[in-house]
Amino acid sequence: MITSKTRLWLAWFIASVTGGTALVAAMLSPGHQWPFLIGKMTSGHHQIELACKACHLSPFGGKQALQEACVKCHGEELRKSKDSHPAKKFNDPRNADRLEKLNAQLCLSCHREHKPQLTHAMGVTVPDDFCALCHADIAKERSSHKGLGFSGCANAGCHNYHDNQALYEDFLVKHAGEPTTAATPLVALKAAPDLEQTASSAQAFEPRGPLAADMADGPVERRGETILAEWSADIHALKGVNCSDCHSIKIGNATERVWVDRPGLAGCQGCHVDQAHSFIDGKHGMRLRPDLQPLAPMRPGLAEKPMKVSAQSKEIGCTSCHGAHSFDTVRAQMEACLGCHDDSHSKAYIGSPHHSLWLNETSKQAPIGSGVSCASCHMPRVRTDDGGRPRSFTNHNQNANLRPTEKMVRSVCGDCHGLQFALDALADPALALRNYAGQPAAKVEGIEWAIKRREAKAPLGIDAITKERKSP
């Protein structure tokens, strides 16, 4: 006979097994690991907070495993930005005392996750004045820094810990005195006539002749009139890209291709390698990274920034901005963005000076490269020489030059604006909210200080020694 005590034990056992199984199942299921989320994540990672393995590569790997995860996603970007404080700089044992103050070889020393109460701009979780740990005596070397607090080093448009490509002293001097706006302002890589501007980065694609509507090779039941009309007028048909080139894909480890109605990224990435690669590095596409599957694609409803109500459930992929069958890169550069983004900066774009220029360019009243769309700044073209093939392509990682804002100077602003104006504008958050309609209220003093120091200091400057070059 089962006593009430036995029943209680049995109930406890069943509840424990069920609960334990549920927890283990959650642990092993990316996208369902919310019971283990120990604190709100930074804005950079919140989209993938339910894919624990994105950062926790190994359950017992400790800090090194976490470091590997950071480098896996951010290492290439740091390398490209010529990181001023790379981990390798601290390998020399003469820096041991510095590492004891702040272990600059681990990203986690300054960027801890799940610590919203400690996190401030750029996901930094150490106090703003961390520069003082190593550069406390900077005022002895630079009189301009006397009396300055260390909290302002990285917050006043003067220095960044990682990317100082637009802020180093000789760069400031070189670009001093530039006019607010160039005489003929053009987005350089868009207007570059001598550089291949690639949509397709595939080397293997054989050029084919144009295809007519009756040459479509998709299943008959899928060849709707509208689809055929759009495709046959599109650049893909003109270049010989047939239905099966995009819709027939290999799934998983399969060797055979199968027809897929909505191939998503897989349909595009075979040819648009650079674009697809950069897309999954950014916030639009990071949930589609192969190692994070099966996370569902990003939806505006998941974003932390204000998004339009009508767009909340839209899944973000290539076709959400470019359309399908009738691909439209002009629409993708502005209208597509404003179809979702509903923050002050985005809303202020319409009617802004940059918008007027964009309208002039797209209506062919002004030259290519003279307009400034959302993508001009947030998805700029970048130059690459990979594979010995100089070309430019649109960087689809819209976060690549977003923070710190000075990263935008060289990739975007500097094409049309003088350095002083660009730094001032980027240092004025209110102006950013107005989408740069108006003049900056901020004044970054870096250029002025660099000029004064140059004038007060010695003679020639190291480059002047070897400046004379023979004419080719």
Partner: protein, 198 residues
């Protein structure tokens, strides 16, 4: 207890003492690496390669192409300027690359009058060594020091102005604390460190 077990015990004790004294000597930095090659010899050999490469790059690449043939410039902002890295940068880039592949030694180019203040002496041994090589031409300096809880055998070798380019650039640079270098002057030192203990 048998005489055999006594012998085994004696051998064990002696072996233990031997191992302990070897470890102690290693810990105290008596100049012998575990493989038998004295640290000083290892450092001297490493320096011979570094110094040769540095001299060749300075004379055959930088000096020749910038000051003589004038076909390219050398700049501390070599990527932006599409120029050659300066000899000191070339040396540092190599040191950083080597440090990514081995922890068996590290090296750096330092000075008591550096253009980049991060290359000033930071430890007592660095200060003593740089001072010694500056005041005793042709001599090297050897010492040991503890950094971050580890002991290091540290060697400092004179870094001499081997080409006109060295002198001209250092004398002209806005951040150089010294502007009267002459060809053949000791401008700083190459510091090589070999960990004595793990």
């Amino acid at each position: 207890m048998t005489s055999r077990s006594h012998s085994v015990r004696r051998i064990s004790v002696l072996a233990g003492l031997g191992a302990a004294s070897t470890l102690l000597m290693g810990f105290l930095g008596f100049g012998e690496s575990k493989g038998g090659l004295p640290f000083k010899d290892a450092a001297d050999m490493l320096h011979a390669v570094m110094e040769a490469d540095r001299r060749v790059y300075t004379r055959v690449v930088v000096q020749r192409l910038t000051l003589q043939d004038k076909v390219i410039t050398a700049s501390e902002h070599y990527a932006d300027e599409k120029a050659l890295p300066l000899p000191a940068q070339m040396f540092r880039l190599g040191a950083e690359a080597a440090a990514e592949t081995t922890k068996k030694f590290s090296y750096s180019l330092l000075s008591l009058t550096p253009i980049n203040k991060q290359n000033n002496a930071r430890t007592d041994v660095e200060r003593k060594g740089l001072d010694a090589v500056a005041n005793n031409k042709g001599e090297s300096f050897y010492g040991d020091e503890q950094l971050g809880g580890k002991r290091y055998f540290t060697a400092v070798y004179p870094d001499t102005a081997v080409a006109e380019a060295c002198v001209k650039c250092h004398n002209a640079h806005k951040d150089s604390p010294r502007h009267d270098f002459k060809l053949g002057d000791v401008m700083g030192g190459v510091v090589i460190r070999i960990p004595v203990s793990d």
